[in-house]
Amino acid sequence: MRGVLGVFHELDSLVDAVAALKKERSGDITVYSATPRHEIEHVMAHGPSVVRRFTLIGGLLGATFGYWIAIWASDYWPLVVGGKPIAAWVPYTIFGFEMMVLIGSLATVAGLFINARVPRLTMTVGYDPRFSDGAFGVWVACPPDKERAVAATLERNGAVEVRSER
């Protein structure tokens, strides 16, 4: 992986640079910001996150499991308590619900991790500690022959520092 990293101090400069880079089709762009900003989302223009599907499937699985474990275990060794039905679905809704929340939540987190490529086993190139502080950054993964052009675009749009990394 190699490419060019640009460091910005202002949000609008960053947005401008990204817009320019996208127009130039220089390569895959990664934008860093200490906090999520709409401006960045607008300029990146990604589709909706697929985490929602993880949530849905996890929740459904959880609810099913919750009901199933309670009903199956009650039926497995049918002992009467308090004259109540062996498998009582009304109170078992609690298990359905709790397991829906638990598995759904964990699936959501799994969705986040998978989609956001977290946890990252390695610290890859193209990151600067200033990005979690006050600075913004752009990482453009591009072949060596395009590096110069990308660097120029970044600098033109107000990058305070531009460097190539590999």
Partner: protein, 184 residues
Amino acid sequence: MTTTMRKWAAIPGLLALAAAAVVLSAYSGASSDEGRDIEQPLPFPHPVHVKTLAMNCMYCHFAAGKSPDPGLPAVATCMGCHITVGPKKPDGSARPGVATLQEFWKKGQPIPWVRIHKVPDYVQFPHMRHVNAGVSCQTCHGQVQDMQRVTQVASLNMGWCVQCHLGESNPPFKARYDCSTCHY
């Protein structure tokens, strides 16, 4: 600029989880005294008595068919034969243990047998109900007639009992399986 590889400490974590699972499963009764094999104060060869001499189990364990307790033979029962059947065979070879037995008898002491098959004290196991229902001794105690020294064959844990009560054994027996059948 740092470009470093950082390995995750997942392996110790997984190991810890596995260890916890092992501990938990052991604690939950997954393990048992199956295969328990302890030296007795004197060697009692079941095969000789049961197979060679064709003695019935209930000759010595006389109460198994009428009491919750199977009964252990009194030393006098042993001595009924071993007063004449001495420590030496006619061919001069030894009958191991008979001398010890006669020693106990002379001193007027009972034999401190080591208990092999043991269910916890909170389990009521009426032998006679099982014997009279046609459960053979070997179902629980294994092929004792072949054992020079008695070892525990079945796990004797609760799931093992319950399988049979549910009728999942071979041949199938079917009995009550609510808790107060055995626990009270």
